[in-house]
Amino acid sequence: MSALWTVPEKLIVRQFYLQNTGLFLVVLMLGFGFLSSTEHIALATYALTDWSFLGAYVVLWVLYTIHSLRFSLQVVQKTDLLQLFRLIPPGKRVVLLYFLHLQLLAPVIGYAGFMIWVGNQQNATAANTGLVVIVSLLSLLPLPFVERALRNPNPEQFSGNISAWLRQRFATPYGLFFIRYLFREQPATLLLTKIGSCLGILGVLALYPTDDYDIRLLSLGMLLSAALQAGIVFELYQFEANQLLLLRNLPVSIGNRLLGYLKIIALLISPEAVLLIKNHPADVSIPATLFVWLFGLGLVALQYATLLARHRSRDRFMSLLFWPIIGCFLLIMYRLPVWALALAGLAAATLLFIRTYYRSSWEE
């Protein structure tokens, strides 16, 4: 059995978790950064007594299942090697496919298990039965789709008349290559990062008028927002190193290269700029608000330059962010003016970028 298991497990399960590391990190930051374990227990307890609230959990789980199934179907249809699955007797094949896809659902099963544990303590038998049924159905859901995909390998791609029309008439400028990549390949990471980051900004803007706060609160919000972009920054680094290596052979000056990255980052965090400018507090001027945003821009650019200075895995890169964030937090709290923080961040990113760009390389 292990001979039949190893290759599909590496191609489907490991690749799914590797390619969605950014998404999981954002979910962890949003789900376990903002909420404590007590709050998770409180939410689970409420969900077990309110079917509509439990329905919201189920919707999220279904969305996740669809996301993982979509990935699996793409791999199955495009990897000729996996066609060998059809040579396995049907009964054995179904068992293999079931357990492979069960691994993809591990986060759902884990959280549902936690809710069942809470339910047991609350004697919520009906809700627990519901949870078991729902998770069982979700675990069975991929089987007919994967079986169908195995019978229809390498389907003809049709991207639609509008896409074809656009491709004939327009060409994507370099500055939008990565943005298109994110929308196409990492939509969940992009969406969750932006939701988390924008909610953080909206949160500090809503908190501002409730007490005697000053611009430091906005700076702290921007610091949190910049930290949340780390997954996307790593995607940019990985995308250019793996799919756009020829960029380094192009005759572009280091200044223009830096400018190019600053434009990409500015575009990525433009929703935060719109929120800040549109909702800035009355006693914080627009130029001061812009400096808050530039502070965030500098921090994100600095993250990218740090990756150039020394290649790090995604996990290592994320874990290294902790102390710089604490440092920035202290600088803000010690009342360093935000314009100085913004300029210092941009200057540090520029220096590091110029110093390390041509010395950097992706290392497997």
Binding site: Q157, A171, F177, F239, L246, N249, S253
Partner: protein, 215 residues
């Protein structure tokens, strides 16, 4: 044409290639070596894609570090196994590279027709076969006004007509003063492609291979 001094490239503290001194005169140079010997690493270093220790100077004037823009304007690279974003079209890539390499529009059109990619140029790269991808990478490698073109396995996956077109193009460009560093495991008829020198990448270094006429 290309002067290499104290070149050294390591991966994870493991030496891949060390070339104390090497001068490539103008011409067509064929680099041979086993798989994994370091040919692609050398090509990528010369193209400016990989960092390395040492120096590389083109035509005695353009240092890869001191004149990074001028150097890259004159050195082009065609990868053995090109990998580009699947969602872009060949046209989007060519247009971008042509603009940065300052290639005239007439040259872009000529290369597109020469390598026969006009038919699929505006479809996403993800739909390309390996041959179509290779042809697109060859168009990119010939764009602009290079003095040195690095072609890593330029003939693999190509049909016979395109293989001939590539060989003819290299010969014509050579007559116009453009130099080439090639690597290929396929034999090429010397009457069709006159190679000026052959080099062997082995034992983590680069050595000139004696030609039959030399022995």
């Amino acid at each position: 044409m290309l002067a290499v001094r104290n070149f050294r490239k390591d991966y994870h503290n493991r030496l891949v290639l060390a070339i104390p001194q090497m001068d490539f005169p103008a011409g067509i140079h064929w680099l041979k070596g086993r798989n994994g010997s370091g040919k692609t690493t050398f090509f990528r270093s010369v193209a400016g894609l990989l960092p390395f220790e040492g120096s590389m100077v083109l035509d005695g004037r353009y240092d890869i570090r001191r004149q990074p823009v001028e150097y890259r304007l004159r050195v082009n690279y065609g990868e053995a196994e090109p990998l580009y974003p699947q969602f872009l079209t060949g046209w989007e890539l060519i247009r971008w590279v042509a603009a940065t390499k300052r290639a005239p529009a007439s040259q872009v059109d000529e290369l597109i027709d020469l390598f026969g990619i006009r038919e699929f140029i505006k479809t996403p790269i993800g739909t390309y076969s390996s041959g179509m991808l290779k042809k697109t990478s060859l168009v990119l490698a010939f764009l602009g006004n290079p003095q040195l073109i690095l072609l890593d396995e330029p003939l693999i996956t190509l049909d016979q007509a395109t293989t001939q077109a590539v060989i003819d193009r290299i010969r014509q460009n050579r007559e116009q003063g453009i130099s080439f560093l090639l690597s290929s495991h396929q034999d090429v008829d010397p009457s069709e492609l006159p190679v000026d020198s052959v080099w062997l990448v082995q034992h983590q270094t680069l050595e000139a291979m004696p030609q039959p006429a030399d022995s």
